[in-house]
């Protein structure tokens, strides 16, 4: 086998220009194929990672509408307490999200997240103090970097906000908040202006002092029970509410919202693979046709049909293998460029990537290229296998 590979290697390096172009073509095709494989599950994996990083694995909503688009949960405090009492549950965080505007500039809108300060937050504190560490008399506020920059805020600044919560917003008095920290919010896109405060302060902001609603309850299951068991218990306890685990959200999004990229990557990967197959088939076929006399001579001096056929296959494997390996770093760089383009989509959280590497991708990539290399070698192998030795040699001598 080593000698067959050596002959294939020598045949390839004898025409470095042609082999180089073949490899270059495979690099271009392979890089695109590799990127399409990264794209096919990238958004789902990235979104899954984002949900997991928030630290809550079950969500409880009023209906099965997409979070923050459906009606809110009523009697949120009692519901949260009932869920928190379950042995499968470690923590519950009620969340209410409303719009607000700067009292000084009504065109400057922001998203205000109201949360229970005692529970583990869903954001990452970058600087300053979290809500839980603030004095009870203050109305503490965490802001993201965009808001801090646009409103020129720093820790210790005060900010006058007005809630945009209904038709009474002009009648709702503005509320003064004290900026206690800068935070990163998991679902912020590159232009988002977001702030977080206490649930009670959000009610004041919207003039709903007696309101006891939440847009959703974020639930962290106990490690021993797991998210599925916790969700089952919550469904049994509160069947009128909609309870979903992170797995179910990811599944839903992968089937609906994110499916476009899955489809487009499938189509492009198929086209790319076919293109690579065509490229190698043509290169090998022309190469073999040019060496028919040489191959007939090798057959005449005793090389078996199988051996010359395997030699052609080895040439295909060498070109595809070399191109395929070189395509991985090229594809990596290319994916960064393409990812940069796609992440400019509005509403895409900053921490989400469209191209995500997982070891499984490399295995699939290697399999697809191997199939392409073998498929591309079939026709030239057939030419070599069916070569009439005497007639070919005679034709060579006459020509």
């Amino acid at each position: 086998m080593r000698s067959i590979f050596r002959v294939a290697w020598l045949s390839s390096v004898r025409q470095p220009g042609r082999t180089g172009l073949g490899i270059l073509g495979v690099v271009a095709v392979g890089a695109l194929l590799f990127d399409m494989l990264l794209l096919s599950r990238g958004l789902v994996l990235s979104f899954r990672d984002l949900l997991d990083r928030i630290g809550f694995d079950v969500r409880v909503l009023a209906t099965d509408a997409t979070p923050l688009t459906g009606p809110p949960l009523e009697r949120a405090t009692a519901t949260a307490a009932a869920i928190a009492a379950l042995p499968e549950v470690e923590a519950v965080l009620p969340i209410r999200v409303r719009d607000a505007e700067l009292a000084a500039d009504r065109t400057a809108r922001l998203q205000f997240i109201g949360a229970d300060p005692q529970a583990k937050p869903m954001w990452t504190l970058v600087d300053g103090r979290d809500l839980v560490d603030a004095r009870a008399t203050d109305a503490p506020l965490l802001v993201n970097r965009n808001l801090a920059a646009s409103a020129r805020l720093s820790i210790g600044s005060t900010l006058l906000l007005r809630g945009v919560c209904g038709e009474d917003r002009d009648a709702t008095p503005p509320v003064t908040f004290l900026v206690t920290g800068i935070a990163e919010f998991p679902f912020d896109d590159r232009s988002a202006t977001t702030a977080a405060g206490r649930l009670g302060d959000l009610r004041r902001l919207c003039g709903d002092r007696d309101e006891d609603r939440a847009d959703m309850l974020l639930v962290r299951s106990s490690p021993r029970a797991g998210s599925d068991a916790a969700a089952e218990r919550i469904r049994a306890l509160l069947p009128e509410l909609h309870t979903v685990t992170n797995d179910e959200i990811v599944l839903r999004f992968s089937h609906v919202e994110f499916s476009y990229f899955e489809q487009i990557s499938f189509v492009l990967a198929t086209v790319t693979l076919f293109f690579g197959f065509l490229l190698i088939t043509v290169l090998l076929t022309v190469s073999v046709n040019q060496r028919l006399g040489e191959i007939a001579a090798l057959r005449a001096i005793g090389l078996s049909r199988l051996r010359v056929m395997v030699g052609v296959l080895c040439e295909s494997v060498l070109v595809v293998g070399a191109g395929g390996v070189l395509a991985i770093p090229v594809g990596g760089v290319l994916s960064l460029w393409l990812d940069g383009i796609l992440r400019a989509l509005p509403g895409i959280p900053l921490s989400v990537s469209f191209f995500v590497f997982e070891p499984h991708t490399l295995v699939t990539y290697a399999w697809l290229l191997a199939v392409a290399a073998m498929g591309a070698a079939i026709y030239p192998m057939r030419i070599v296998g069916a070569l009439p030795i005497a007639a070919t040699l005679r034709r060579e001598v006459v020509s």
């Binding site: 073509g25 009474d168 293109f275 043509v282 290169l283 460029w337 393409l338 383009i341 509005p346």
Partner: protein
């Protein structure tokens, strides 16, 4: 006709049904009418004349009965093509009555937007500016103002263009390899032509013309293949997402762009391949 969107008072409103509770009921004939989307009708097996109860409350409290008067196909929305369109259209007073609970400030006098049709649509931008200045708190926009929707498609277009660049690069390499081999295959013929007196530029021209013919044939075949598969692509995606949206459209501009890219690339590949070849000595060409 151009319209303006103003977030204040509405003419017609529609309700996203997933945000409401919907239940089929038997009830009197004086129930107000509503229209439902085809997807909602299919999923919930609703027919014209059915009575449904709509409520903002998940437990269906304070619900109101409506009669299904029609089933409509929602206007295709590229921003929401992957989502099922569970929608209902109500008369505005019915919607306002449904969204309020009768208490002060219950939202029963709140609307999301006003669509305005101007007598002279060309003045939309100016009208929007004037209105924004006169009604503090209101946001008026001409409908052709760039927003998140347009920027989404700009980004998607940019992504597809980037993919096209990579594909064209791969194709160019493929073409170059092919032309190198084609020219190489005729090394001896070219040598003999040189020996009998054909000038270099004559042979070069012949190779370039041949390359151009191959390129044109390839590009035309590619276009025909794209046109033939266009409807298959569209049918697949229309079936997959249950939408009448068109995903692939081969326009004259796209065809011209493809030809304009393919021709120079093909001719350049022929030139490079034959030029490197003709630089060799005459004896090397005829293997002497």
């Amino acid at each position: 006709m151009r319209t303006l969107c103003l977030k204040l008072v509405p003419l017609v409103a529609f309700l996203i049904a997933v945000g409401c509770t919907l239940a089929v009921q038997a009830a009197p004939d004086d129930a107000p009418s509503l229209l439902i989307s085809r997807q909602l009708a299919t999923t919930r097996q609703l027919r014209i004349g059915d009575l449904v109860r709509l409520s903002r409350d998940p437990a269906a409290a304070r619900g109101r009965l409506f009669r299904v008067d029609g089933i409509y196909e929602p206007t295709p929305d590229p921003m929401r093509f992957a989502q099922q369109r569970f929608e209902a259209r109500l008369h505005l007073p019915d919607l306002l009555a449904l969204s309020g609970d009768g208490s002060p400030g219950d939202g029963a006098d709140t609307i999301d937007a006003i669509n305005v049709a101007l007598a002279d649509p060309r003045g939309a931008a100016r009208f929007a500016r004037d209105l924004s200045g006169r009604v503090p708190g209101a946001i008026a926009q001409a409908i052709d103002t760039p927003d998140a929707r347009t920027s989404t498609f700009v980004v998607i277009e940019r992504f597809h263009f980037a993919i096209a660049i990579v594909s064209v690069t791969g194709s160019a390499v493929f073409l170059l390899a092919l032309m190198v081999m084609l020219v190489d295959e005729r090394r001896e013929t070219v040598g003999i032509l040189r020996l009998i007196g054909f000038a270099e530029h004559r042979i070069l021209l012949q190779v370039v013309v041949e390359g151009a013919i191959i390129t044109i044939a390839g590009a035309v075949f590619g276009l025909l293949f794209a046109v033939m598969t266009e409807s298959a692509f569209n049918r697949f995606f229309e079936w997959r997402y249950d939408t009448p949206l068109v995903f692939v459209r081969i326009t004259a501009g796209v065809a011209a762009q493809s030809m304009l890219l393919a021709l120079p690339l093909g001719i350049a590949a022929s030139l490079i391949a034959s030029w490197t070849f003709l630089r060799r000595g005459l004896m090397a060409l005829v293997r002497r």
